[in-house]
């Protein structure tokens, strides 16, 4: 049994203000939402397709980001690279870039005329813009830095002497990483995964610019919300709330299953 915790006001008060600040606008939305029209707004097949697409794309994006992002975080935190500070700053580029510009940048490279997209098209017949794969790429571009930076932070905070112990037991860098480092920084990875998934789910600008907006293929919820906002703000509120409800449900369930034990 762990000792119960008392909670100092100097921490609880700002925490409560912070929580209120993050959630009260949501309450505003909920109050504003036309609850009786809700089924009407949500039961359209377009919206259900958009919701499903959003969840699928955000999840695929997160998988892609985990695959590439965790090694990248390791490289930044542990490998003794020259110019590491600069590389680390470079990773934050997609964070700072307005998402629409990010979409443009992706088109410049992966579009039909782009240096990479051109070859993808002529050699493999692959065209990424206007496809669901394009949505995943656009979301990954925007969301990956969140994963990389929070995992890197976790790696830096971790006690690297356990990795030394693993090395003396004959474990390669890779095995050490998989079996010692990753489990030790699991909370940081979970945090990064949540950030990545949520950011991908809410991504709008880069998606519409790179992947366009075609119902059933590239119209994710944020795109549907944005367009609804133009003609029917109430519908937009309802859709947003639906998106939120789903994501909160997913996160509340998943995180408590991932995080075993009380601390």
């Amino acid at each position: 049994m762990k000792a119960r915790q008392s909670r100092p006001a100097a921490l609880v008060i700002p925490a409560a203000i912070g929580l209120a600040f993050l959630t009260i606008p949501l309450a505003g939305l909920l109050l504003q939402a036309p609850w009786k029209d809700l089924p009407h707004h949500l039961l359209t097949p377009e919206i259900q397709a958009a919701l499903k697409l959003s969840l699928v794309c955000a999840t695929l994006t997160t998988a892609l980001c985990l695959t590439l992002g965790i090694p990248l975080a390791w490289l930044l935190a542990r490998a003794d690279l020259p110019g590491r500070g600069f590389l680390r700053a470079l990773v934050t580029v997609p964070l700072v870039l307005p998402p629409v510009v990010g979409g443009v940048a992706l088109l410049l490279v992966l579009g039909r005329r782009g240096p990479v997209g051109h070859y993808l098209d002529s050699w493999f017949g692959i065209s990424l813009p206007f496809t669901t794969a394009g949505v995943v790429l656009a979301e990954a571009f925007v969301a990956m830095p969140f994963l990389v930076i929070s995992v890197e932070g976790a790696l830096r905070a971790a006690d690297s002497r356990y990795e030394e112990a693993a090395a003396t037991l004959g474990a390669s860098k890779l095995l050490t990483f998989r079996r010692v480092t990753l489990p030790a920084i699991a909370p940081g990875i979970i945090a990064g995964t949540v950030l990545c998934w949520a950011r991908a789910l809410g991504e709008f600008g880069a998606t519409i610019t790179f992947a366009g907006n075609f119902p059933g293929e590239t119209t994710t919820m944020p795109l549907a919300v944005y367009l609804a906002l133009e003609t029917d703000p109430d519908a937009a509120v309802v859709l947003s709330v639906a998106l939120l409800a789903v994501s909160i449900a997913v996160l509340a369930c998943l995180r408590d299953r991932w995080i075993s034990g009380p601390r």
């Binding site: 002497r161 356990y162 030394e164 112990a165 693993a166 090395a167 003396t168 037991l169 004959g170 474990a171 390669s172 860098k173 095995l175 050490t176 079996r179 010692v180 489990p183 030790a184 699991a186």
Partner: protein, 350 residues
């Protein structure tokens, strides 16, 4: 395939500069006061720290020679018990021990079997499933010991492997470790503060102070001619090999001793020089062991005099200066050495 290391490491206020060789099958104990550089040496040998200069070589394999060569830890066949254990908190005790074999390619089932056997050896069979955080300090240290021993590495580095153990467990684990090290073809470097561990387990002692070697040699040699008071105090122990039969131990070097605890087969017997009494005439009394000796030499230490005595067995005795005067001790003086059976500690050798 001798380990030959010339360890030079310079740090803020501390500089290590020691030369170490460990032959296959040999156990070298590294002793020294806190902060002498023992852990630093272990880390450099394990490949966790770089040398500033010097080299680490095992036979023809160069492991470290700045600035060019550096073989990282995972490609040195080493096993390390760390002073603060460093058990993996997310793995069970069993998985911690099985980690090394698994990393070296042993199939899971075999690795677990080996791990289970070692856990049983250190007396933790029923804690196999426990997480390190739920183990007591001594239990954690035993898991760390099992984890380093299970892989049978070429070079075994043990940094205070018995420090957290209680007296009785220590006795048991020390014997177990001794048995293992005897059969073990690799090289062992044992860092310890406990002179008994060093005397019983090691073939050779290397004593360092402030980063430099102050003395080295076989335990009995060092005990015989300690260069400093610190060493005299540290290694003040008579150590003999012999073969036990009940409470009688026939010593390999001649003579026999009566001990309190019956044993059988090859043993070590150890007793401090302070336990040896000197009498001009043979006394009658409780001490079981009484034999004639001749003074071979005298050495003055801070408050005591270490007397070298030739006989069967030859032993060291610590006495006060007053005794030297009273018994007129000088090389050639003939005396009776007296030693109580209960003063003798006996450790199985095989």
């Amino acid at each position: 395939m001798t380990l030959d290391a010339d360890l030079r490491i310079t740090r803020d206020a501390f500089a290590l500069d020691i030369r170490l060789t460990v032959r296959p099958g040999e156990v070298v104990a590294l002793l020294g006061p806190n902060g002498a550089g023992k852990t630093t040496a272990v880390r450099a040998l394990a490949g966790l720290d770089h040398l500033s200069a010097g080299h680490v070589r095992v036979g023809d394999h160069v492991w470290d020679r700045p600035p060019k060569v550096f073989v990282p830890a995972e490609r040195r066949a080493v096993g390390v018990v760390f002073q603060d254990y460093l058990l993996f908190n997310h793995l069970s005790a069993l998985e911690n021990v099985a980690f090394g074999p698994r990393a070296r390619g042993v199939p899971r089932a075999r690795a677990r079997t080996q791990a289970r056997a070692w856990l049983a050896t250190v007396g933790l069979a029923e804690h196999a499933g426990a997480r390190p955080r739920t183990l007591s300090g001594g239990q954690a240290q035993r898991v760390a010991l099992a984890r380093a021993l299970v892989t049978q590495p070429d070079l075994l580095l043990l940094d205070e492997p018995l420090a957290a153990l209680d007296a009785s467990t220590r006795l048991h684990i020390r014997a177990e470790l001794g048995r293992h090290l005897r059969d073990y073809p690799g090289r062992t470097l044992l860092v310890t503060h406990d002179p008994l561990d060093a005397m019983v387990l090691a073939d050779r002692l290397v004593i360092i102070e402030a980063g430099r070697v102050v003395q080295e040699g076989p335990p009995t040699e060092v005990a015989r001619r300690p260069r400093t008071d610190y060493i005299a105090h540290l290694v003040g122990l008579n150590l003999h090999k012999g073969t036990a039969d009940g409470t009688t131990v026939a010593l390999d070097g001649g003579g026999a001793l009566i001990v309190a605890e019956p044993a059988a087969g090859p043993v070590h017997v150890a007793f401090p020089p302070s336990a040896v009494g000197l009498y001009p005439r043979r006394p009658a009394g409780s001490p079981r062991n009484t034999w004639p000796v001749t003074v071979a030499g005298l050495e003055q230490h801070a408050h005591t005099v270490r007397v070298h005595l030739a006989g069967s067995p030859s032993v060291l005795a610590d006495v006060t200066p007053a005794v030297v005067a009273e018994l007129r001790l000088a090389p050639g003086t003939q005396l009776w050495a007296v030693l109580k059976a209960t003063e003798i500690q006996t450790y199985a050798r095989g």
